[in-house]
């Protein structure tokens, strides 16, 4: 049943949470600046609570079931993270408090910078970026500034593999680079011949996702890095898929120059219906001076009597400030909590179980579904959601039918280099019974595609709404539920 909007629920004169009257002598409000009307909703508190509770029940979520959304790492978000981030000692600190009053925050940030650098094999890290996409922007700014500082002004091209996320070309374009698409070879690796041909003295760098969006660790990783470095370019690592490599591989040790993590993927901070994320960026030694402002340093190592102290400093050649204050601090507390509970062994266990789960699903599903790159995968893999014998059935239909089996669909139609892609990432926190139930559903759907194709075409059947008319949304362009329109009143 449809839940009315907050404007439909509103009744003139009702109040929700109200406040006391001022107890100070009153001052006049300047009438020339006073707004004429303020038609905000008027709903009592219970009405508001029921409204949002009912809305929540229209969502699918990790806490409800399996969410194998490729490239998004929808793992369990430990509840302890929510508790620690809300400790008043953290949550009630103002970002502009004097440094001597926030030594706890600064210690946490300093330690997390070091942990994140250590996990990836880098020299240092910044916690400022608000999201993976902003991390990419920071990384690209660092590459641009590095070349500029070296007088290398003709380096204008950035190579981007054809399997990359759309943010890679968009980020490099925002920095004025010319993104050049790099093809993959038949095993899903960067095509080394094409790479060599595209490398010259106009090369600024490469944006290299590894494992890539096919879920494959590039077999030529060392070669790719060597070729780009020899041409004078820098290697940007898109760390979106780092969940597969925790304690397994340090990208920085292998020559990646700059890389971002997504704390909301790898380090278990919740996705929140689309954010907030957090996209720390790690750099190798030669790039540490370029990190954004502010950066946390140890200002005094302390002694037997006094603990060390911490403060902010602007790195010498910094690319500058990219958002207000110091990053998504609340997300940093969550990631710190997670890493503190896992340590080296726990982190490696995560990567191992993520890869084990993905390979298990891949083994069970290949054959029934086409696996275009048939080799051992990392944390995810990509199937074709299409069969030649039932050409009317598409990846979208399979995705929608999965909802009837109470699963969130895989990512579909991405990466672009796989026809009718279904990108499946189970994550390490799912047990084998859940994986088996998902396999059963996928096999059943493959059967239904032949026997009852209309079941797929008309899916989903049990969801709060059915397939939505996206063309109508793009044509009508209704972005507001206020004021209540005439046809709704009648």
């Amino acid at each position: 049943m449809r839940e009315p909007t907050i404007f439909e629920l509103s009744s003139t004169g009702r109040t929700g949470v109200t406040f006391q009257e001022p107890d100070v002598p009153l001052s006049d409000f300047p009438q020339e600046f006073a707004r004429a009307d303020f038609p905000f909703p008027e709903i009592a508190e219970l009405g508001v609570v029921r409204h949002f509770t009912k809305l929540s029940q229209k969502n699918y979520a990790i806490d409800l079931g399996f969410y194998p959304l490729g490239s998004c790492t929808m793992k369990y978000n430990p509840k302890i993270n929510e508790a620690t981030a809300r400790y008043p000692g953290f949550a009630a600190t103002h970002p502009l408090q004097p440094e001597d009053t926030v030594q706890g925050n600064l210690y946490l940030m300093y330690t997390l910078q070091n942990w994140l650098a250590e996990i990836g094999g880098f020299a240092d890290a910044t916690l400022a970026p608000a999201a993976g996409a902003q991390g990419e922007l920071v990384g690209t700014m660092i590459i641009a500034k590095y070349h500029k500082d070296h007088g290398d002004l003709k380096r204008t091209r950035i190579l981007i593999p054809d399997s990359a996320h759309g943010t890679n070309p968009a980020s490099s374009a925002m920095l004025g680079f010319d993104p050049v698409q790099l093809p993959s070879d038949e095993r899903g690796n960067v095509d080394l011949n094409a790479l060599a041909e595209l490398c010259d003295d106009t090369l600024a760098g490469i944006m290299f996702t590894n494992p890539n969006t096919l879920g494959l660790f590039d077999e030529n990783t060392a070669e790719v890095i060597r070729i780009v470095h020899e041409a004078g370019g820098l290697v940007y690592g898109d760390g979106a898929n780092m969940n597969a490599l925790l304690g397994v591989f340090k990208p920085g040790e292998c020559g990646i120059d700059v890389m971002h993590y997504n704390l909301h993927k790898t380090f278990s901070t919740p996705h929140g219906g689309g954010g907030p994320g957090s996209g720390p960026v790690m750099v190798c030694q030669k790039l540490v001076d370029y990190l954004p402002d502010p950066h946390v340093i140890m200002t005094d190592p302390g002694d037997e009597e006094n603990p060390p102290t911490y403060g902010f400093a602007r790195p010498e050649k910094s690319i500058g400030r990219i958002k207000t204050f110091h990053g998504h601090f609340g997300m940093l507390v969550r990631a710190y909590t997670y890493i503190a509970m896992l340590g080296q062994e726990g982190l490696r266990d995560i990567a191992e179980k993520a890869v084990l789960n993905a390979n298990y699903l891949q083994a069970k599903l290949k054959g029934t579904y086409t696996l275009p790159y048939d080799r051992s995968c990392m944390h995810e893999f990509v199937l074709e959601g299409y069969w030649k014998d039932v050409p009317d059935i598409h990846a979208l239909d399979i995705a929608k039918r999965l909802m009837d089996y109470n699963f969130h669909p895989p990512t579909n139609y991405f990466p672009l280099i796989v026809h009718e892609a279904l990108m499946i990432e189970p994550t390490e926190t799912e047990n084998v019974e859940t994986l088996d139930r998902f396999v059963d559903a996928m096999l059943k759907i493959a059967e239904e595609a032949r026997t009852q194709p209309e079941l797929l075409k008309s899916a989903p059947h049990n969801t709060p709404v059915k397939r939505a008319d996206e063309l109508k949304a793009a044509k009508d362009l209704i972005f507001c539920c206020y004021p209540v329109r005439e046809w709704e009143k009648s």
Binding site: R2, E3, T15, F19, Q20, S27, F33, R35, F38, P39, F40, P41, E42, F52, K58, N59, Y60, C72, Y76, F90, A91, A92, H94, L96, T101, E118, I119, T167, A170, S172, F177, T221, G247, V248, F249, C254, H271, G273, G274, G275, G320, R321, K323, T324, H326, G330, T337, M341, L342, G343, L356, Y360, A363, M403, E430, N431, V465, K466, L477, C480
Partner: protein, 451 residues
Amino acid sequence: MFTPHTKADVEAMLKTIGVEKVEDLFKVVPDKNRFPDLNLPLPLSEMQAATELDSIASANATTRDFISFLGAGAYQHYIPAAVDNLLQRGEFYTAYTPYQPEISQGTLQAIFEFQSLVSLLTGMDVSNASHYDGATAAAEAVILAYSQFRGKRPKVLLSRAINPQYREVIRGYMQANDAISIVGDDPETGIEPDLQKLIDQIDLDTCLVMVQYPDFFGRIIDYAPLIEAAHAQGALVAVVANPTALALLTPPGEIGADIVVGEGQPLGIPLSYGGPYLGFFAVKNALLRKISGRLVGETVDTQGELAYVLTLTAREQHIRREKASSNICSNQGLMTLAATIYMTLLGKTGFQQVANLCYQNAHYAANVVQEVPGFKLPFKSTPFFHEFVVQANQNVPELLAHLQDHGILGGYDLNQDYPELEGCLLMAVTEMISREDIDYLTDVLSEVKHA
């Protein structure tokens, strides 16, 4: 702990895969780099982690320990209990971006309601789902305006009374664009409330004029003449607005703003040492297709039932790749929800009460502070909302340290960003500051020895 695999599970799974041990799945990783040591502390149990984090948090003194007059872009407001209670429902916070509308109507409708509330608050036609924060939203406004004229109008005019961090972020975002000229915030143009020197710089090369409302110093300024002058030259106007103030102030949309952006933190989001917060971004219909970020639109499903979907996605990076105007993806979803619940819960009455409490408390504070010998209000003749500038006859860092010793965070030292405002600090007063707090402040200020 967070991985559920038993030994027997692992063995059975490996058998299905056809390898002997888990390590075999990683053979593709170069031998010499495989399974490195991580220099990390030994793992903690949940109980130990809770204790350790509590002890780190306890090393801070917070706005609960101090009486805090800090604002300057982040504000201490009361957050009703129901906000976090609803926010912590797993169906909201463990969901992802609502790509699959059939099983994401909760998130989609909440964003749609957020868009509606922001449009109403700002007086604009269309709001997007969010940006990272107020500063990055302001940077995206510059990108929008620059691309609106296809780079043919290379000049962006920023008022010097815009939050200095916002101006830094705007320049940071545009650092690779050598053609753009971001000016107007120099000491010569200044911070006079009549803005005449800024208005004089608007010309046919100007793509955007940006001002803040109330401005960084808390002042409420009539921007109608500036907007008229900008439109006369064909330039767009962006207003950086404080959402609490908009409960009482004429919305920027009504005085002609083309773009309104701002920091949504005051809408039920904890200070949390600077983030995560929420940038809001609203435009007039004419700019609808230029807006970056996610947009939720209304439609119907195959049964004719009302439904919400992400729409106009063809503008975005995952479709347009390098031709997209921004690389922004979904962001701040949960903060959007917090703001929506906050605004709905307070509603018409509560939200205006909060704004009025801020206004009244701040005016009481300003009045009594200026009565303390040695302190005055340099912008006294201009109306203000809940922030104001105090000029002290002495070194501000020393004054702030003195106040801190007496349990008061006195405000923001303006001299860091404004050499012309030596001896000045910016004080914010919200509904969280009581009359007693303010009287105590004046007691402490009265004891200060002046140079």
